[in-house]
């Protein structure tokens, strides 16, 4: 094991102890299946808001988004801004109505609104695919922070991280997950803010930071209207607008955030929790934007750099040394490492573990409710599931974490990339049925089925074709057919899929039989009144 300074180990161990203690004590409050599934609907606004932040924002945020800023340049700040702005949008679009309805699982709304219990299967399948990919990504993220900062061997990192998440999810279900996620949100936000402030101080404040970044990379602050864009992927306004919208509506429709609306005390708490989430996440993202912008400069002028240093080459060396992920995964860590402050690094390690663990736990809670209650009890009519809901939910949690652990031992690059696909496919396949189901009386059962199936298959095909045939998943998958040029149109993460999903849903709804009036009245009209 390489040398690592005491504050890094100390802070990391303290973090692990803290979440184990929170998990252990929260199990004493667990009295029923409702407590396990939705924390007894007793979570307050601050705790739920912070839990929303840490659950929604995955290692892809902490590692991936600063890396995108590093590569794509300043225009990517707007994609990050749109993610935060998507949070308040969800307040009145889905959160308030869903909390008024107070379901238990993510699939409840679909089954009731469209009056079709079988929808629990298709909603569950799409969600399970997303869960496996995200849990794997989160386990890899945990290990990557432990490896790159605390120098813990990768295999030890994935095992330790998975066991700790398993402990608190099994002990306290949604209660433990909520309290731990709130603590984790606080920690990851503080970690990013401390790192960003240290960078700004080093570079001489905001103006000094701007000037230093511009001197290091003259194209960094450019937009598509400037003669030279920072990167091909931010080279046109269509691309910038695409990045802006690609993750914008995720907060309103993703299962792991939607179920958090069910855990709050009431509709007022649900609304206020989004305020707390937006507050913490906004601060967190501002910090990540600064770190991402300064990454190249920090790496090239830090202890690993020097005269004529190249950040990409340095990061490729990192990756060669650690052998996990891709070189961009290390840009954020390397930028903070360049500060040469073990306390900042220790807090960053704990913050990185926090963001990864909270996302893994959040997804485990979504799927354990779906598989135990929806599939086991309601669809398969299992006596065991009915009589032992908490035990079965715990077993399902352990299985999903073990599956993630096994895949994470030697994670194929494609699996990690596919988590980005999963995010968009869930919005495009299940989002229209959720949003339009609430706000459009004409939304039909056939449209729900069609959109869920067609968008999952079409989007997988499009993503794979763009990535494997055209060369990058951010290239529009029909570029070669329509334009004869694989790079003609940049549509990040197939941003077209979301409008196409909504359009398909609307067209099928207009030509198919409406849902029974009683269900529409109850799950559309009444839920959206006075949200």
């Amino acid at each position: 094991m390489a040398t690592v300074e005491a504050p890094v180990i100390g802070i990391t161990v303290l973090y692990f102890l803290a979440i184990i203690v929170i998990g252990y004590y929260s199990r004493q409050r667990l009295k029923s299946a409702t407590d396990y599934y939705v924390a007894g609907r007793q979570v307050g606004a601050v705790v739920n808001g912070l839990a929303l932040e840490s659950t929604y924002l995955s290692p892809a945020s902490m590692l991936g988004l600063p890396a995108y800023v590093f590569i794509i340049g300043y225009p990517f700040w707007w994609a990050m801004a749109a993610i935060i702005a998507g949070m308040p949008i969800a307040t009145l679009l889905t959160a308030s109505a869903l909390r008024k309805y107070a379901p238990t699982s993510f699939a409840d709304y679909y089954a009731d609104r469209y009056n079709d219990e079988r929808l629990r299967w298709i909603v569950g399948i799409v969600t399970v695919i997303g869960a496996v990919l995200y849990i794997t990504l989160s386990i890899v993220g945990m290990a990557l922070f432990l490896l790159a900062i605390a120098k813990v061997p990768y295999i030890v990192g994935i095992v330790v991280g998975t066991i700790i998440v398993m402990l608190y999810v099994v002990w306290g279900g949604m209660i433990a997950t909520s309290w731990n996620a709130a603590f984790q949100a606080f920690l990851m936000t503080v970690a990013a803010v401390i790192a960003a402030i240290a960078i700004l101080v080093k570079l001489g404040g905001i103006d000094g930071f701007y000037a230093a970044v511009a001197a290091n990379n003259p194209k960094f602050w450019n937009t598509p209207s400037d003669p030279e864009a920072p990167h091909l992927l931010s080279g046109t306004w269509i691309a910038v607008i695409g990045w802006f919208f690609v993750w914008h509506y995720g907060f309103a429709t993703m299962p792991y955030t939607v179920v958090r609306f069910f855990t709050t005390m009431d509709i007022k708490t649900a609304r206020r929790s989004i305020f707390w989430c937006t507050l913490a996440a906004g601060i967190f993202y501002m910090a990540l934007e600064v770190i991402g912008a300064a990454s190249k400069l920090m790496i090239e002028t830090g202890p690993m750099g020097g005269e004529g240093a190249n950040a990409v080459a340095i990061l490729k060396n990192y990756m060669g040394q650690y052998g996990v992920g891709v070189w961009t995964d290390y840009s954020m860590i390397a930028a903070v490492e360049a500060l040469q402050n073990p306390w900042v690094l220790g807090i960053l390690c704990a913050g990185g573990l926090a963001i990864a663990m909270s996302t893994a736990a959040g997804w485990v809670m979504v799927v354990n409710v779906l598989m135990t209650r929806d599939w086991g009890d309601m669809m398969l009519k299992s006596k065991f599931a009915k009589e032992n809901p908490v035990l079965l939910a715990r077993i399902v949690s352990v299985i999903f974490l073990l599956v993630g652990l096994v895949i994470a031992i030697n994670p194929p690059g494609l699996v990690l990339d596919l988590s980005g696909w999963a995010f968009v496919v869930i919005i495009s396949a299940l989002g229209p049925g959720l949003v339009l189901g609430l706000w459009w009386k004409r939304a039909t059962r056939a449209a729900m089925w069609t959109t869920a199936i067609v968008m999952t298959v079409l989007h997988l095909y499009a993503w794979l074709k763009a990535k494997l045939v055209l060369g990058h998943h951010a290239f529009f998958f029909l570029n070669d057919v329509i334009f004869g040029n694989p790079k003609a149109l940049i549509t990040p993460h197939q941003v077209w899929a979301i409008p196409v999903g909504f359009l398909l849903f609307i067209i099928v709804s207009l030509i198919t039989k409406p849902v029974e009036e009683e269900a529409v009245q109850k799950y559309c009209v009444e839920l959206t009144q006075e949200v």
Binding site: Y74, Y210, W221, G282
Partner: protein, 72 residues
């Protein structure tokens, strides 16, 4: 037909309008080249202040309406 409350559209116009104005100013006046300015309008306002104002609008006005109706 159900329709989101007016305050939803106020927040949406505030955010999308602000973003559009920033992009227009970048494309026409190059404000992204004023030292330090992108931090203030894209990071501080775009990623933090304006979304936060939206989230306040989205709980304050519905709560006011509930109070006026005599509800919770």
């Amino acid at each position: 037909m159900p329709w989101p409350p007016k305050v939803f559209w106020v927040g949406a116009i505030l955010y999308y309008g602000f973003t559009a104005l920033c992009w227009i100013a970048e494309a026409t006046s190059g404000i992204n080249h004023v030292v330090g300015l992108p931090f203030w309008y894209a990071a501080f306002l775009g990623s933090f202040v304006i979304p936060l104002v939206m989230s306040i609008l989205y709980f304050y006005f519905p709560e006011k309406a509930e109070e006026a109706r005599g509800g919770a």
